[in-house]
């Protein structure tokens, strides 16, 4: 379990930025989200919890969270950017439905091993990777076929 609030605090101090109530609430809010989320998800969740933090503040905090690797961009769906909380040692890849935006996370050791093999072949040292499989979930594919 990582302490995102602490991480943010340290990074803000280094940058000479302020540790405000809004920022603390936002980082606290997202650290409880396990799925993917967008700016409005944060805004709504805060509002539901009685915290009246403006959309502007949410949007202005997101770049800070990105920079400090507390969240990362997961996908963009219908012009809306989706994020996920960064968890150390929990890498996974994504399957994305192009129609409904559904996202499935997976991890495949065989693929990871092959990636290593490929990089060795090209004399590269692999440090990270990003694999996105795009297509249609069974529901959407059926819809598509009916047309």
């Amino acid at each position: 379990m990582e302490n995102y609030a602490e991480k943010l605090k340290n990074n803000l101090q280094i940058d000479g930025k302020k540790i405000t109530k809004s920022r603390k609430e936002i980082v606290n809010c997202i650290s409880n989200i396990t799925e993917h989320f967008d700016a409005d998800d944060i805004y709504d969740k805060l509002k539901k919890d009685g915290k009246n933090i403006s959309r502007a503040s949410v949007y202005r905090t997101i770049p800070i969270l990105l920079k400090n690797k507390i969240i990362k961009e997961a996908s963009i769906y219908k012009r809306r950017t989706k994020y996920e909380v960064v968890k150390e040692n929990e890498h996974h890849d994504h399957i994305i439905c192009k129609m409904c935006g559904k996202i499935i996370e997976f991890k495949n050791d065989e693929i990871e091993k092959l990636q290593e093999t490929i990089c060795k072949k090209y004399d590269f040292v692999l440090t990270e990777h990003n694999l996105e499989l795009k297509g249609y979930c069974s529901k959407c594919y059926k819809k598509l076929m009916r047309k």
Copy 2:
């Protein structure tokens, strides 16, 4: 060299859609582009060539080109969708050096097969994928180690 105009024509006829001047101009325009482009790039290029086709038509033609696999989404940068012309049998993935930016293109059939297997497992129909391996090329890695 593929004949995109012909491909579009055939597909439009199958769908009972019309082969209009605008659509012909647009497909002709993009078939000469080798880099990535967005909707406005098409609009501007057409305008420069004296073809006054509205932005609306460009935007309305893009989904048709996507559907017919004449173009595909390449990336989204600053809320602007970038496309590239689809070239048959030219799929590849990328290895990218984080230090010098060197890019190596590769293709690995085993990984592609595994992707299919994974999608089947999750009841997804795979239509496209994107795999980026990031790390350091041997030269840069040595530099890094010397530090």
